[in-house]
Symmetry: C2
């Protein structure tokens, strides 16, 4: 990109500067023009690069000089301790699930599907097409591109029974990723210091976002069949919470998928308590068997606020998600989204819309789901064979993860570092608990690279487990 005729001059002068005294004068522009047989413009460009690198300073009309090295002294940022005070909650700066996937390891830790599972060809051609349209330079409305709002609304409407009034495009707010949408919902619907009911275990990103928003988490237990609606009712009544965050479809990490009866019961409960269900529908593209209907498709009373992201299924570079909400809650969330982000790049919105409206998108989803189901079965079988003392709580009907209960007393942190030493990255289950973990768990993601190494990876986890117990 920067590989032009000034590069050799920059390189040569950098070598010279490395041994020159601070303040030493560089050869004149005229000399450099002659030496390198280039134009004065090229020499000036080289000098500007050196200035930008902090190696040279130019005094107009005088010449260019080797810059004195910065005084090197330790910084004292101690004053910030008083200005910042104690943080609201000690949370890890970075979750295990966000760590980069290296190529020399067997990776079960990541939360993001491997490139081989993405519609790469569709994404690349959508970016190339978009580059020629207005979307490359225009500013979209802050609620989103109307066509993309319509698409999100139509996806929900297609699953809405005729007795329920379906949401429309005007109910959709396009946000820069699910995390941004969730953060906006937490600020708009809950607020700092106020309670939010949440499943335990649940998505670490939601726990993290709630902690940062200063929201008070009120956990209820949840397992492979979802939460108990009676416990939810008690907890809403006792805490005074007006919102419940949940992942009814292929919950992360448990893989739970609510039955239609449970969805109805939860909906009845939030209605009775005048509360919101913040439905994080992160995995609707990753349903591996049957049909998954979001709870939002059963509600037209404004109780369900629906979050849906395209980032995991389209591509990590296409940070586009939608919040669908009705009533005053919609305005509150929109105000929050505008305050936090103004609007979402129209380029990314156009690319997302292009990908999901191509005929190839449905074809891709089908083959991606088949591939994911194979990986899930492969990994589940390997767990059964090589982790005989562990317990797979359920084989999920969708999502990207297996949730493995380890023998009581297992030191998950020690297991994690032991596995890492053997070249296997796993995510210890503790991050998915809003309070103390109720047992040692591993989350094994089956959407990582190189499924051919999955069995060997689980064998190594088993060997590490044997060593530490």
């Amino acid at each position: 990109m920067n590989d032009d005729s000034s590069t050799p001059i920059v390189d040569e002068l950098r070598t010279w500067i490395a041994t020159a005294a601070p303040g030493a004068r560089l050869p004149s522009t005229r000399t450099l023009v002659r030496q390198h047989e280039v134009s004065p413009l090229t020499v000036q460009k080289a000098l500007r690069s050196l200035v930008a690198l902090g190696l040279v300073e130019t005094r107009p009309g005088v010449g260019s000089f080797v810059r004195a090295p910065r005084t090197s002294r330790p910084h004292d940022f101690g004053w910030q301790t008083a200005a910042l005070g104690t943080p609201r909650r000690q949370i890890p700066a970075q979750s295990r699930a966000l760590q980069p996937v290296r190529h020399d390891v067997i990776a079960f830790h990541s939360g993001y599907p491997d490139r081989g599972l993405l519609p790469e060809r569709l994404v690349r051609s959508a970016f190339a097409r978009m580059a020629r349209t207005d979307a490359a330079v225009a500013r979209p409305p802050s609620s989103g591109l109307p066509e993309l709002q319509s698409w999100f609304a139509a996806e929900l409407a297609a699953m809405t029974p005729a007795s329920v009034s379906a949401p429309g495009p005007q109910d959709v707010i396009v946000v820069p990723g699910n995390q941004g949408g969730l953060t906006a919902c937490l600020h708009a619907l809950v607020g700092a210091g106020r309670p939010l009911v949440i499943e335990s275990p649940t998505y670490w990103g939601a726990i993290h976002a709630a902690a940062q928003a200063g929201v008070q988490l009120v956990p209820i237990p949840s397992g492979p069949h979802g939460p108990d609606p009676d416990v939810l009712a008690d907890t809403l009544a006792r805490s005074g919470a007006r919102a419940f965050y949940a992942q009814p479809t292929h919950a992360n990490p448990t893989g739970a998928r609510w039955s239609p009866q449970l969805a109805d019961a939860v909906l009845a409960t939030v209605r009775q308590h005048g509360a919101f269900l913040i439905e994080d529908d992160w995995a609707s593209d990753f349903t591996l068997s049957g049909e998954a209907t979001p709870v939002a498709a059963r509600d037209d009373g404004g109780h369900v606020v629906h979050l849906r992201s395209l980032t995991k299924s389209v591509a990590p570079s296409v940070r586009v998600a939608a919040v669908t909400a009705r009533g005053p809650a919609h305005e509150r969330i929109l105000t929050e989204v505008r305050a936090a982000n103004m609007y979402v790049s129209g380029a990314l919105q156009a690319v997302a819309l292009d990908v999901v409206t191509q005929p190839g998108w449905r074809t891709h989803l089908r083959s991606m789901r088949r591939e994911l189901a194979d990986r899930r079965d492969l990994l589940a079988a390997a767990v059964g064979e090589h982790l005989p003392t562990a317990h797979l709580t359920a084989v999920p009907t969708g999502g990207l993860n297996l949730w493995v209960r380890l023998p009581d007393g297992t030191d998950a942190a020690r297991l994690t570092s032991g596995c890492e030493a053997k070249g296997v990255l796993v995510a210890p289950g503790d991050e998915w608990f809003p309070a103390e973990p109720v047992g040692a768990h591993l989350r094994l993601n089956y959407s990582g690279p190189n499924p051919g190494a999955f069995v060997e990876g689980v064998r190594l986890i088993g060997a590490t487990l044997d060593e530490i117990t």
Copy 2:
């Protein structure tokens, strides 16, 4: 983008559906192929569009049918009133400056440069190039693409004197736009219920973000020369605030640019009070005369947190900005950014980096600045001629706006609607005041479309002003 051969079929069928009974069967694919002389693929595409619009449902192997209309009844969202409580502050859902720019009006209201001032060719080719690289599908680190962090750091380092230790790439956090960076800083450095000193008037987006974050604003007066450092010192001491938000370079809306002496005085003041200066360096690409050095380049004590955006100068679709901060504040902000957004699209980061490292970028900046200076002079002269009772507080040395004081007692809202009736969009100054406005103002943006109509636009503002006073 969607304007293809299926559009006429969609249009004709929509007309037909409008009067058809629910459940009525659509003509067969074969019939439509014959009628329209197109391929079966085109007909299927048209049918998919109608399904997406919720007008048609398809039963495979049977045919396509007009969908039954949803039961229409009024919604009752009253329960949300209790769940949501009163909002923290009544703020307008949408600022005047964010309203779309229509083509049949003379637009002085927008905050975004017209397309003609953007490096459109560079942006389009950067998108096209990026579509062929890994960035189109990869997930970048949550602090940002390392090369882009380096670029932002080098830009600041190039203006840092040798006596000050310059920031490095590790100090830079890439965020999805300036608004997202500011919101993260407000949560991380100030927090709900705590005070923040702010200039008055100042950027409405900052007022809005602070209101949403629940931050308590403590305004100090600021004019064409910036704030008074003694007033700042008093206000920091009195309020206990540990942060001051300001735009030292081409403040929006006043155009103020701090002198080096003022920058030093403010820096000394925040140091003395153990406080942060949140420097919103939004307009460094829009310096029209002289060189603008950010205050951040004078500080290595971690007091200045520097915000810089590329969205306005590169393109509205390229939502990329940077927060540069040192010490524990850096970690606090990074934790906040991760909780709110996880990471910024690597595709947008790659495009931003490509544009600003092209040789054409510097050329573009030079010609864009010349064009902006001409527009500024044109508009300032028109204000002098056609708004004789108004007062232009200063002709700014950069930025995008003129800040016009109206005669005392002018009803700015009435002036705005009167101008709109004449086809001229202006932004009333009230939105830029964190508390009561101290006078009637207009902000006239000179980066909108069609500068040829500027003089006529100001003449019409003058005529409206005459009518209402």
